[in-house]
């Protein structure tokens, strides 16, 4: 994926989530403004046969992975033309055919599952690796440590990505983690790196290098992306930061940074940017229209596939 394509994908995520949050019927959403470079840089390094598992902050990763925005919007708004017929929502969105094995909204709950998907690949001698994304909040969980140990022991093909957006709801990692997220994997002999998660080029390069190690049979690897959350934890949560701090954080916008770099490097023109923005806006409008045209499930659907 070239840099303009990455910019386009990042803008799509920002615009898509903004349009979703602006709706009165958006429900309960965890948005990813400020974290787009992690999602897009990571997915730029993935192949079609790879499978991605995320936590509950899933929308950016789903769009970065290439899921069509219309069905994703339908899923988020609870409509039957979502990939999970509107039952899963943001917290549990999945579409394995697109290499998106799924979100799982239990913090650290996706990690052992990801290792299991990787084990299945090993046993079936299937191609591709598994990527597991989680937040800094997962780093104190037993599930993370249990899974890292077994993944290392069995040399499972997993790229673990800690999207460290510096907050578990309102709590900073310094208050909950004795050490740094990127150092945890080293105890299990897992190769680990830390990257600036606001720099999509750096994320993409780091992910490509780490993915190559996994594909070469080197076992699991661990990447910590230092990112920043521009909004409150969720659309229902109070913002806990002061206005000055928020202003400083938002000034580090990964989209603005990439756009400036592309203009400076002559890879894109102002007019091309305007066109790109208009196209993204049209794509999001089409996604909203697709979702609105799709009905809610009937109440009987509550029992479908329940057993």
């Amino acid at each position: 994926m070239n840099r303009v394509a990455m910019l386009r994908r990042m803008r799509l995520i920002r615009t898509f989530e903004g349009a979703l949050a602006a709706r009165r019927d958006h429900g309960f959403q965890l948005l990813s403004a400020g974290e787009e470079a992690v999602a897009v840089g990571l997915c730029a390094a993935l192949a079609a046969e790879d499978q991605l598992l995320t936590g509950g902050r899933s929308i950016g990763f789903a769009l970065a992975r290439g899921l069509p925005p219309g069905p994703v919007m339908a899923e988020l708004l609870g409509r039957v033309d979502g990939p999970n017929q509107g039952r899963a929502g943001r917290g549990h969105l999945s579409w394995p055919a697109y290499g998106f094995f799924g979100a799982h909204a239990v913090v650290a709950g996706n990690m052992s599952v990801a290792a299991g998907v990787a084990l299945a690949r090993r046993l079936r001698e299937a191609a591709g690796m598994v990527v597991c994304v989680f937040g800094d909040g997962a780093c104190g969980a037993g599930a993370l440590h249990e899974t890292l140990n077994i993944a290392a022991l069995w040399r499972l093909p997993v790229l673990f990505v800690c999207n460290n957006n510096q907050f578990a709801v309102s709590t900073r990692p310094e208050a909950t983690l004795a050490g740094r997220a990127g150092d945890l994997a080293g105890a299990y002999g897992i190769f680990a790196r830390r990257v600036d998660g606001m720099d999509v080029d750096a994320v993409a390069a780091a992910c490509a290098a780490l993915a190559a190690r996994v594909r070469d049979g080197g076992g699991p690897v661990f990447l910590e992306c230092a990112s920043a959350r521009f909004l409150a934890h969720s659309t229902a949560a109070r913002e806990t930061r002061m206005a000055d701090e928020l202003r400083e954080t938002r000034a580090r916008c990964p989209i603005a940074a990439l756009q400036a770099a592309l203009l400076r490097d002559g890879e894109v023109s102002e007019s091309a940017l305007a066109t790109l923005e208009a196209e993204v806006a049209a794509e999001v409008a089409a996604a909203i229209a697709f979702a609105e045209a799709s009905p809610f499930p009937s109440p009987e659907e509550a029992l479908a596939d329940a057993e």
Binding site: Q51, P83, N84, Q85, R87, A88, H92, S94, W95, P96, F101, G102, H104, V106, G109, M111, S112, V113, A114, A115, G116, V117, A118, L119, A120, R121, L123, R124, G142, A143, E146, T147, N149, I150, L153, A304, D305, A306, E307
Partner: protein, 330 residues
Amino acid sequence: MPNEKIFYREGIARALHEAMAADERVFVMGQDVGAFGGAYREFDGLHAAFGPERVRDMPVAEAAMVGIGLGAAAAGMRPVVSVTYMDFLMLALDPLVNYGAKLRFKTAGKLTAPLVVITTAGAKGQGVAHSQCIEAWLMGVPGLKVVAPATPDDAYGLMRAALAADGPVVYVAHKKLFPMAGACGAGDVPMGAANIIRAGRDVTITAHSYMTRIALAAADNLSVEGISCEIVDIRSLRPLDVGLVAASVARTGALVTLEEGQLACGVGGEIAARVREALGPLPVQRIGARAAPVSSNPVLERACIPDAARVAAETRRFILNDATSRWRAG
């Protein structure tokens, strides 16, 4: 070999061996399942036959064990994960309940998790955190199946059924049953089918797992006094065969539920409520563990867990008491 005698543990091992030979997707993971053959020899011979890739020893990490099993199942395998003691299944309830049980629903059928978790319940002198029967906790989870075989025949047949199911199954074995011998007809046992293991006229006693043996012994005692007990081995806790129990109670006119676990929100309470909903008012007596931890002290352990004498006494008192008699007469 139809109708040969085998041990309960052999019924489990045989079903697993056959399934692993027939289907490359089936594999076993857990603590001490490899060359050791399982804490109760329920995995005897599998490591020698299929090797360490398909019979995998794991660290003491129940949450990850079950989560990895679910992930592998969702990605096309048919794993069996052994959680040595049911007490430690508590550590794995997050992946089992929050992921596995919901996967089919939340993916609108795109993914399923055909995982079997085999675990052991029951008291056998191992104390407060190695004796519990918490299968009732699992009965309220849509998307889970729970079976608890009592005989070698059912141990084999229900393992086959569990391995063929398309969602997570918790297979509850019992520590005292592993060395018990019995006939094995090598047949299928469908999930959700209870079984009348003793016909009787005066009262229906439901039980599962090891408590079926206690019920049978109590019924022997009561028959001497002229009280005829019909005993239903529940076998499958979710789905629950309410129809068979209700039909039995419709004949006998009274229901005793027996379990080794706690009575509050227990298996018996659920059976009683469902039978009541099917039949209308009826006399019911629940029998289960005392409301206390189960000690490794043999005197205290015995004091907690129902035995044949207590089941006979409570059933006798229930059958002969005024309210039950009046209801049955009326």
